[in-house]
Amino acid sequence: MALSRDLTGKIALAGVYEHPTRWAPDKTELQIMAECARGALDDCGLTLDDVDGLFSAGIAMGPMGVVSLAEYLDLKPNYIDGTNIGGSSFVAHVNHAAAAIHAGLCEVGLILYGSTAASNSLAIGTGMGGAARDAAGSFVSPYGMTTVGSYALVAQRHMHEYGTTPEQLAEIAVTMRKHASLNPDAKMRKLITIEDVLSSRVISEPLHLLDCCIISDGGGALVVTSAERARDLAKPPVLIQGCGEAVCHREIGSPDLLTIAARQSADNAFAMSGLGRDDVDLCTLYDSFTITALVTLENLGFCKPGEGGAFVEGGRIGLGGALPVNPDGGGLSSNHPGMRGIFLVIEAVRQLRGECEGRQVEAAEVACVHGTGGTLGVAHSGATLILSKA
């Protein structure tokens, strides 16, 4: 079924805030979320009293975490969404908020994330899983699949099918670091070379340490409302032109690991927007690992399957390149507090507003945002947004 185009251009991202912290042993996760709420509401000139929709997910939050969050903020929203589909959740929350606002179920949606993953010493990449806890997990857990490993399985297959090289993957990390060097809040700002990536220790072949995202603390917030209401707020609204979500999994045992959820969610989001890949001025995408960025670019349709390696070469995804990707430095260099989807939206909105100073994409009018959640080689989700200036 083709998705309805009924909400295209009618819903806006009105306020955004990225917490500048990357290391917050002195803060709780709820506190970070509340500080972010304050930042995003201040950004657009609304107050907590205006919020009637609440959206959140987290690593430490249980299934009822959004209820605890509402209590912490003393909020009693009319619309509550605790959807957790991994790191992409917050991109999906924007889709859900847009639908709810368009349907008249709430007027102002607040999307929050906060985490102290780094100061809690969470070994996200190489310390999860292990003992079998349930019947479904028992087909994976005996084998010690790390998070890095699940992405490495995809990278190895990509190299086999298309001849993608470690140097091409490394160039993604180099580009992200270059972007981070222009972002005063980024955690890792010292420039690196392809050689630095290739000589960093191998975590799970073919991925090296510098092919992997960093772990930080942090948080962010988004305020979503109708385009009509957003017009009167403090900042120029950024409009939602298209959105989509998808999942990929092991099916009945015959998945193609190189076709990821982004294929389905982006095809729907672009169709809804009426815009083409050529209209996009910048892309913010989940770069949990270099391979994630590469296969995401292919599946978003910016290049053909197998062409991702060549696509990222020669600075083409850098500022000033054909398609700037993650001008903030992404998860590879700016921040990665466990889940990163919210920052993809924040950076895209700020770029479209033209407020990114040293890392501003010139004449940015359309952005493609794509979050990936879960483990790419086993089961994952994807959520896409096509955003534009009003």
Partner: protein
């Protein structure tokens, strides 16, 4: 030299018990739908293609090829820490489905995509009281593969 992996016991339920008990007999047991002939993995009580409940179990050949793999050099978990580097892989079975597994019996650097492999089983120690609570009354084993 890497240490042997100490495999943890799987948890089974009504839908997956036949697979794990098959492993205990050193048989790789798959499912086929009697209505639409679909072979599926992981095991389910229902055919995911046609929702039929008429599912039969059969013993697979145990032969397959490596679909993809990664040599794991870092895992903080005690059961795997000293076993690094080990080869995590997906193997395409002759019968169609793909399994996550380990490839052993050769130098990790010699593993290749497309390499023919054959199943082997690592028996897990039985503990009748606890095993029943994990859904597997009979003995079980972990399937993994070596070059054929």
């Amino acid at each position: 030299m890497a240490a042997e992996i100490s495999y943890s016991k799987p948890v089974a339920d009504w839908e997956t018990r036949a697979f794990w008990e098959g492993c205990g007999r050193h048989e790789l047991v798959l499912q086929r739908c009697r209505d639409c002939q679909t072979v599926q993995f992981r095991p389910r009580a229902i055919c995911a293609k046609c929702l039929s409940s008429d599912i039969e179990h059969f013993v697979a050949s145990g032969r397959g090829t490596v679909y993809t793999f990664t040599v794991t050099h870092q895992n903080h978990l005690p059961a795997f820490r000293d076993a690094c580097p080990y080869v995590l892989a997906y193997v395409d079975l002759e019968e169609g489905p793909q399994l996550m597994t380990h490839v052993v019996g050769c130098d990790p650097q010699d593993v290749r995509i497309g390499m023919p492999v054959e199943v082997e089983f690592v028996d897990l120690e039985r503990d009748p009281a606890k095993d029943a609570s994990r859904g597997i009354a009979a003995g079980t084993a972990i399937p993994r593969f070596h070059p054929s």
